[in-house]
């Protein structure tokens, strides 16, 4: 732990035990997975690489704002990319902010959206072993997500069954840019397995599905795409609710990650308003769509919405429901939200406890 920690002002979460619902670890290189991959797949990776429905082999089609998407100060001394050095991550994030629990979301090389599905399944298995050995076993504060190849529900269920019961894994994760909306039947076995094992589904904006990033085609700029990925999360909420996933599995819990949250009230109003006139189309919904959102979904704060008048945020959070909100930093990414400053409105002690810790305990059954 660094000396400088002593000089810092006290942190809101410190005494409470903050739970950070979005932390990004990383590999130094894809070769980190070698110990967990069969020779055949190591060869495959070396020859064909990671194949996703995107134009470039080495970068996202929307070039990010910073190298590795990360804060300049998060490049660790081990020479690897941000998030690849446990000791540095402990120092910069876990110890620095007194984090009781950090929810890991891996963004690269997860196998979740590989075009070769068999390779994708093998990658997911390897990634989960790597997460377990290199991260969660080494720092008990870190909790991994079981990454699954979502487009192959049978393989995804196998992956869940393989790890279920291991408390190092607190949720199931799949890419959000799926080929079909996540409420469609092809994905239902994944939700059934997650619910059966009392694991929430954590949906962090990620992945490539070949669909345009908007319903009207491809945007030109990262300044658009960074916003579009959050809009696509609204489509996922719509899908999970309207297709009846939440209604059919009342014990299923879903956490939406890295899409902000101030859009939740207006989406709920819109869903309810139009459901009233079209409920005959979705008879599997017993109540208004918002009722499922309010009982089975949680939303992480980052990137924290910033109203033009900061006080408006209180109203928005109230409309969402204080029990639905989970704090997240998104460390080490460039749009990191600092627990000390990100929530720019005055919270009561109860609200603070809920957002920074207690809601996460409920969502993840910690």
């Amino acid at each position: 732990m660094s000396q400088s920690l002593l000089d810092r002002p006290s942190v809101p979460g410190t005494r409470l035990g903050l739970i950070d619902c979005d932390v990004h670890h990383a590999m130094r290189s894809p070769r980190d997975l070698d110990p967990y991959l069969a020779q055949k797949w190591r060869d495959h990776l070396g020859t064909y690489g990671s194949r996703k429905p995107v134009p470039f082999t080495g970068t996202s089609p929307y070039f990010k704002s910073a190298p590795a998407l990360s804060r300049k100060d998060t490049w660790p001394p081990n020479g690897g990319p941000p998030g690849s050095d446990l000791a540095f991550l402990q120092e910069q994030l876990l110890d620095r902010y007194g984090i009781e629990c950090g929810m890991l979301h891996l963004l690269s090389m997860t196998g979740m959206d590989q075009r070769n599905q068999e390779f994708g399944a093998a990658l997911c298995r390897a990634v989960n072993h790597w997460q377990h050995e290199v991260w969660t076993q080494k720092d008990r504060r870190l909790k991994a997500a079981i990454v699954v190849p979502g487009e192959d529900a049978a393989a995804a269920v196998q992956e869940i069954e393989y790890w279920a019961g291991n408390r190092d894994f607190a949720q199931v994760s799949m890419v959000t840019h799926t080929i079909e909306p996540l409420g469609r039947r092809r994905y239902w076995p994944i939700y059934e397995a997650a619910a059966a094992h009392d694991l929430p589904i954590g949906l962090h904006t990620s992945g490539f599905n070949g669909h345009a990033v908007t319903p009207t085609g491809w945007s030109s700029y990262y300044a658009e795409e960074h916003h579009e990925v959050a809009i696509s999360q609204q489509a996922l909420v719509t899908s999970l609710v309207c297709e009846g996933v939440l209604a059919r599995l009342p014990s299923l819990r879903v956490v939406m990650v890295e899409c902000g949250l101030a859009w939740v009230p207006s989406l709920c109003w819109r869903l309810d308003q139009h459901w009233k006139r079209m409920r005959d189309e979705v008879p599997h919904l017993d109540g208004p769509p918002s009722s499922y959102v309010k009982s089975q979904m949680w939303f992480t704060t980052q990137p924290m919405d910033e109203p033009e008048r900061p006080a408006d945020l209180s109203k928005i959070l109230e409309w969402i429901g204080w029990d639905r909100i989970l704090f997240a930093t998104d460390y080490p990414h460039w749009d990191f939200d600092d627990p000390e400053t990100a929530v720019k409105v005055k919270l009561t002690e109860t609200q603070r406890r809920m957002i920074f810790r207690d809601n996460a305990r409920a969502a993840y059954n910690l």
């Binding site: 345009a212 009207t216 491809w218 700029y221 696509s232 309207c242 902000g260 819109r270 079209m278 008048r309």
Partner: protein, 356 residues
């Protein structure tokens, strides 16, 4: 509360093209023959299945008549019922969705001429939107130039879900022509089905398409701002029709936040996107996604930060409200006056000249 009869300007009503037969007199010889010989018909948009709940109010429905296809009914149900001095006709027939751009242009001409002859000529309270063959900007500009002399056409019309985001430079000749002729660009709900209706693929239910339609509008606003359309065309106004608007505060906050971080990527966006939107974007009233707590709606409008953006609409014959409750609860008296009269007059310069 009864509807205030102060000569409202209804900015979104939908006369329906009864079918291709009605357009035959307005097609040129080549396309009349193509349509007839090949049996081309049935271009009602999939975004608006006519029997689905939101697309025709029960008491505005008549047996054997396509909703919106009767001028007499529109007069009685939309104009007289609300004492409207003017209503703007947005025709949603399938011209923007056909793949053949020449046919799209022929259809757009036919629809616009049909609207002028069969609706605008017969009812002086009606105004029109120029349907564009958005598939090909050169043809779209030609259609604007062809109809712009008729002052009854007060805006140009494109669907929210198209082939590419509207801010792309490909579309700029359209904006130049629209700006020149003082025609706002109306983006109306609806998809051409060039892309899945969500970026996560095709949903199962119409309800989902309807709800997520607001995402196409958001994508268009992101694009129009990020590509610098309003910097290049400072006189251009964009009207979002049938989009809802309670999503706008959060949308603007996020857009401003991203712009602050990424403005070096789009240096031509020279001020906060929220200011650009408040200056250039107007939104029709219906449907309003009404919050359960009526006071929240006023708070949302307050968060948007302007009382100039909202334009009265009934969305006739779509079912967005019952009786004459076209105004959602929670609007102040002064805002109602702006929404019903002042904002539409300020938005449509060509309309203002003919009703003032």
């Amino acid at each position: 509360m009864s509807f205030p009869r102060i000569g409202a300007i209804d900015c979104d009503v939908h006369p329906a093209v009864p079918g291709m037969r009605a357009l035959l007199p307005y097609l040129d010889d080549h396309w009349r023959e193509q349509v007839t010989v090949r049996g081309i018909d049935g271009l009602d948009p999939s975004s608006f299945p006519v029997n689905a709940g939101p697309n025709c109010r029960a008491d505005w429905r008549a047996d054997g008549v396509k909703p919106g296809s009767s001028l007499e009914r529109l007069r009685a149900d939309a104009l007289d019922a609300f004492g409207s001095r003017v209503a703007i006709c947005n025709c949603l027939y399938g011209a923007p969705s056909v793949f053949n751009a020449d046919f799209a242009a022929a259809l757009a001409r036919a629809i616009n001429d049909w609207l002028a002859a069969e609706w605008l000529d017969r009812e002086p309270r009606l105004r029109g939107s120029i349907v564009l063959p958005i598939q090909d900007p050169e043809l779209a500009v030609a259609e604007i130039e062809r109809r712009a002399d008729d002052p009854r056409f007060v805006q140009v019309l494109v669907p929210a879900g198209g082939e590419a985001p509207l801010g792309r430079r490909f579309y700029w000749p359209i904006f130049a022509a629209a700006e020149k002729h003082r025609l706002p660009l109306c983006i109306h709900a609806g998809s051409t089905f060039r892309h899945a209706t969500t970026s996560n693929g095709w949903p199962s239910y119409y309800l989902e398409d309807y709800v997520t339609m607001s995402h196409a509008f958001q994508a268009q606003l992101l694009s129009l701002v990020a590509e610098g359309v309003f910097t290049k065309f400072p006189g251009l106004t964009v009207v979002l029709a049938e989009s809802g608007f309670t999503w706008l505060p959060q949308f603007m906050w996020r857009q401003v936040k991203t712009w602050r971080a990424m403005r070096a990527e789009i240096p031509w966006v020279d001020r906060a996107p929220a200011e650009i939107i408040r200056d250039h974007v107007r939104i029709t009233l219906q449907p309003t996604d009404v919050p359960p707590d009526a006071s929240a709606l006023g708070q949302v409008i307050d968060m948007i930060g302007t009382d100039r953006f909202l334009l009265f609409s009934t969305d006739y014959p779509h079912w967005q409200f019952d009786g004459d409750e076209a105004l959602p609860p929670g609007l102040s008296e002064s805002l109602v006056r702006k929404v019903l009269v002042e904002n539409p007059l300020a938005t449509y310069p060509r309309l203002k000249e003919s009703v003032a």
